[in-house]
């Protein structure tokens, strides 16, 4: 601290740096360094390793300059952790296709930065080059803009079709053919939002009236049928989060109050199962509840991970939690509690044999990595230029 109170030391610091850099040993008999090529640009593997995450920094204070960083969480230093980035403008959303090696980003431009004509665009990023390889422009701008979501840009049908959620506030889903990169259809989803993959070629949406609506599509993206489920929750009194984790075709939707609704998405129509408790009676007395933005994710071993906080109340549901609880979904059993270093706002879980949990710590907007099996804290990812890394994605979101 003293060095910042001492007003003359800063310049001195600079000067000493210079001296240090020239005071090393040297061997003048070494051959000179060769001339190096200019114009070299790095590339990445077409399929990202399990330890890599996509970190979506919506830049809440500079939304025109949102960023998605590709982060290798297995590395120790920021220079090794950061593999690259791309911009996503104005509260965008992303999706991924493992098969195509592509990342899809729904974003919005204005002809004069923050004003002028609005243009909604799906930008298709090549995972290996991190360069744009195509785009799809909305005929009328209407894409969903808000806090980042996992199921607002969703590939389905073995990644032949891409679904992008719209909100004007009328709700619909734009359907894009990923071979031709053209919009093939727009399906209204009255009163329902988001696009959770359902069956071979369909999706479900959560409805304000406490139902799920399942939409079946034909191969060309045309609408076959829309089916509404029975009412299974009350969005006033017992709301569920729009965030969910998929395990073997079942989507687990947590409720504000600490239950989880398993929804079988393997058929043409979502089948809502019986909810079960995430919390014990004692924990309920302490008002332990789920909370956060990207608050739930799954690993490859049948577990889902969810941010939990005590003293929950009306108003705490978006604030994150102090612990991550891990559940074996099929057994309805909690298998681990991870005490976070400070607090968590969003999380994502890596695929593969050794699940790792990456958590946004909102106290300093760093990311913290935890061992998903032992709960051990591994390391932090910080100082990567982030402002508000509000949504995390495992490198493949199957």
């Amino acid at each position: 601290m003293r060095r910042f109170k001492n007003r003359v030391s800063w310049a001195g610091l600079l000067a000493s740096t210079v001296l240090a850099a020239t005071a090393l040993a040297q061997d003048s008999s070494l051959p000179p360094l060769p001339i190096e090529a200019t114009g070299t640009v790095q590339s990445l593997p077409a399929k990202y390793p399990d330890e890599w995450f996509l970190v979506h920094d919506a830049s809440f204070f500079h939304m025109s300059d949102g960023k998605v960083y590709v982060i290798d969480t297995s590395a120790d230093t920021v220079a090794e952790q950061v593999k690259g980035m791309f911009n996503v403008v104005l509260m965008g959303n992303i999706g991924q296709s493992r098969r195509r090696g592509e990342i899809y980003a729904a974003e919005t431009f204005h002809s004069r930065g923050t004003r002028g004509t609005r243009m909604d665009v799906l930008t298709i990023w090549d995972m290996a080059s991190l360069a744009p390889k195509g785009e799809v422009v909305w005929p009328t701008p209407k894409r969903y803009m808000g806090m980042p979501q996992r199921f607002a840009v969703t590939p389905i049908d073995n990644d032949n079709l891409l679904l992008v959620v719209n909100f004007t506030p009328a709700t619909s889903v734009t359907i894009i053919d990923l071979d031709t990169r053209e919009i093939v259809n727009e399906v209204a989803t009255p009163g329902c939002l988001m696009a959770y993959p359902t069956g071979q070629r369909g999706f479900s949406s959560l409805c304000a009236d406490g139902r799920l609506m399942s939409t079946q599509l034909a191969r060309d993206g045309s609408l076959i049928k829309q089916t509404r489920s029975d009412v299974f929750f009350n969005s006033d009194d017992s709301p569920i989060f729009e965030h969910t984790a998929f395990i073997e075709g079942t989507a687990y939707f947590p409720s504000f109050s600490g239950e989880v609704y398993p929804v079988n998405m393997q058929g043409k129509v979502a089948q809502v199962g019986k909810p079960w408790d995430l919390v014990t009676k004692e924990e309920r007395a302490g008002n332990w509840r789920p909370g956060g933005i990207g608050l739930i994710d799954a690993d490859d071993h049948g577990h889902f991970y969810i941010l939990m906080h005590p003293d929950g109340a009306d108003g705490t549901q978006n604030g994150g939690g102090s612990e991550v609880w891990v559940f074996a979904a099929a057994k309805r059993e909690r298998v681990l509690k991870i005490q976070l270093q400070a607090w968590g706002l969003s999380l994502a879980v890596s695929r593969g044999k050794k699940p790792m949990v990456l958590v946004t710590n909102p106290t300093d907007m760093s990311l913290e990595l935890y061992d998903g099996t032992s709960g051990e804290y591994i390391r932090s990812v910080k100082d990567f230029g982030q402002e508000t890394p509000l949504m995390l994605h495992a490198s493949y979101q199957d």
Binding site: H62, R115, A170, L193, S235, D236, P362
Partner: protein, 177 residues
């Protein structure tokens, strides 16, 4: 020790406020289908205060404070801190006509008022007085109650700047949200 004060103030703000795109502005009505519509408000239009009334309508508190009564369901940057006021936009921005409605209790008269949270749009994040109060907030599928959506809809620009809180009536009952 200004450095420290500053730090903790900042951490505090981050903890309390950065955790969500609080609804900023929200939408009238529930199931809007196909196109924007203007549903009926759960509002009894307040009678204008009589000119010769011995008592004047009253509010209390600091409108640049997140705790101010009107902000019970706001989420975003307070326009009061950005060159606007609690119910007007900063210079050069445009007020969104599509809003979310909250019901807040005025502690000065004990009444519940319907508050329209109109976003001001067309310039980038004001960045000041970020205020997150998630009371009654619901996920975005419940669009009439969500604060996770960008409500700069129906404006020339979709870029969010700050949020106002405008009295549009007295609530018929406390439950109306």
């Amino acid at each position: 020790m200004n450095f420290l004060d500053d730090l903790f103030e900042r951490r505090s703000r981050q903890l309390a406020q950065r955790s969500s795109r609080r609804g900023v502005l929200k939408q009238l009505g529930g199931l809007l289908v196909g196109a924007a519509a203007v549903p009926l408000l759960p509002v009894a239009r307040a009678v204008a205060a009589p000119q010769a009334a011995p008592k004047a309508p009253k509010e209390m508190g600091d409108e640049s404070d997140c705790d101010y009564w009107r902000y019970c369901a706001i989420d975003g940057f307070l326009c009061s801190c950005c060159g606007g006021t609690k119910n007007s936009c900063p210079p050069g921005t445009e007020m969104s006509p599509i809003t979310w409605i909250g019901t807040c209790r005025n502690p000065a008269d004990g009444r519940n008022y319907v508050i329209s949270y109109n976003d001001c749009c067309g310039k980038s994040s004001c960045g000041i007085c970020l205020c997150q109060r998630d009371e009654g907030d619901r996920p975005p599928y419940r669009s009439d109650k969500t604060n996770d959506i960008n409500w700069c809809l129906g404006t020339a620009s979709a870029v969010y700047h700050c949020s106002t809180a405008i009295v549009v009536g007295v609530a018929l009952d406390k439950g109306a949200k």
